[in-house]
């Protein structure tokens, strides 16, 4: 029975025989010599975890492909005319009283201090914009799911402390930081596009909202700490693998 190990240098899958434990095998991609660890029994929880993350990965891929395909097909039917600079009528649903202020965040306009949106659709009916947004967020999500999948697969291989895993966890953390920055840039863009288009008697548009997303920043920081722990773990694992 053959199994695969992960190259410690490039992350490539290397097929090895059942009796290869303790031997060194060369990665065909980067020519690094890798020590083959002893096979470990896979627990039921690991199997379920692998199945779930595989399912999430393939569903995410299918959804992403479907959204992109739909955008391309609809775009060919003439629905992608650019309306960036044209005035877009914005429906106002609530009668406001002074001295309330309006803020713009996540493609919605809010009355400051209230959680429900005053206008819940600031983006124009423009397929190019929606396509860009779907591509942007889709890539974020796919990248995180891909990295988590690689992490889970390394657990299945019995090498959770491979030198690649700290980089993967760090990569997820940096992606979350990038998400927070991207959300704020998006808000800033929406503010500049729409701030002069929302006109309500006596009302003023608030300055661009900075979304700090403390929960995401804390998550990203925790992931950075976990990556550091895995870094130490991978060094200890390397020592353990070469201890006779």
């Amino acid at each position: 029975m053959t199994r695969s190990i992960e190259c410690q240098s490039c992350g490539n899958d290397i097929p090895v025989g059942a009796t290869a434990a303790g031997n060194q095998v060369e990665c065909e991609q980067c020519r690094t010599m890798n020590l083959v660890p002893s096979p470990v029994p896979i627990s039921r929880a690991t199997r379920i975890m692998v199945f779930l993350i595989d399912a999430v990965w393939y569903i995410s891929l299918a959804l992403f492909a479907a959204v992109m395909l739909a955008a391309i097909l609809l775009g060919n039917r003439g629905l992608s005319e650019t309306t960036f600079d044209s005035g877009i009528p914005i429906p106002i649903r609530v009668e406001l009283e002074e001295p309330m202020r309006i803020s713009i965040e996540n493609s919605m306009a809010y009355v400051t201090g209230y959680n429900y949106p005053l206008v819940d659709h600031l983006l124009p009916d423009n397929l190019a914009v929606w396509f860009s947004f779907a591509l942007f967020w889709g890539c974020f999500i796919l990248w995180i799911v891909y990295q988590v999948r690689r992490l889970v697969r390394s657990v299945r291989r019995g090498s959770p402390f491979s030198p690649r895993n700290p980089r993967r966890i760090r990569s997820i953390s940096l992606t979350i930081f990038a998400y927070v920055v991207a959300v704020n840039l998006s808000n800033l863009w929406l503010y500049h596009v729409y701030s002069d288009q929302i006109v309500i008697g006596g009302m003023e548009i608030d300055s661009p909202v900075i979304s700090y997303h403390p929960e995401l920043i804390i998550l990203a920081l925790i992931l950075l700490i976990i990556a550091q722990v895995f870094e130490w773990g991978s060094r200890l694992q390397a020592d353990f693998d070469r201890t006779v």
Binding site: G22, Q24, R242, T243, V244
Partner: protein, 75 residues
């Protein structure tokens, strides 16, 4: 590395093969081979004890220390 492994020398002296030693000690040939070639980073006391018992020798017969300059001259 200044630590030199003389396992192959001891095997010749005792007229024993690595496979036989592996069976006696209970360690895989791959691991013993790694030790013999100096690719290992550490040796457990239990492993050393088992090898010494199987080869009827002392740890100093298997492990030796050469100063880096001596190693350089040898090379």
């Amino acid at each position: 590395m200044p630590i030199v492994i003389n396992l192959d020398l001891m095997l010749v002296k005792r007229k024993m093969t690595l496979t036989e030693l592996s069976e006696k000690v209970g360690i895989t040939i791959a691991n013993l081979s790694m030790l013999k070639q100096g690719h290992s980073r550490a040796v457990r006391f239990s492993t050393l004890e088992a090898i010494c018992e199987a080869l009827d020798c002392r740890p100093g017969d298997i492990l030796d220390y050469e100063k880096p300059s001596q190693v350089g001259q040898a090379d």
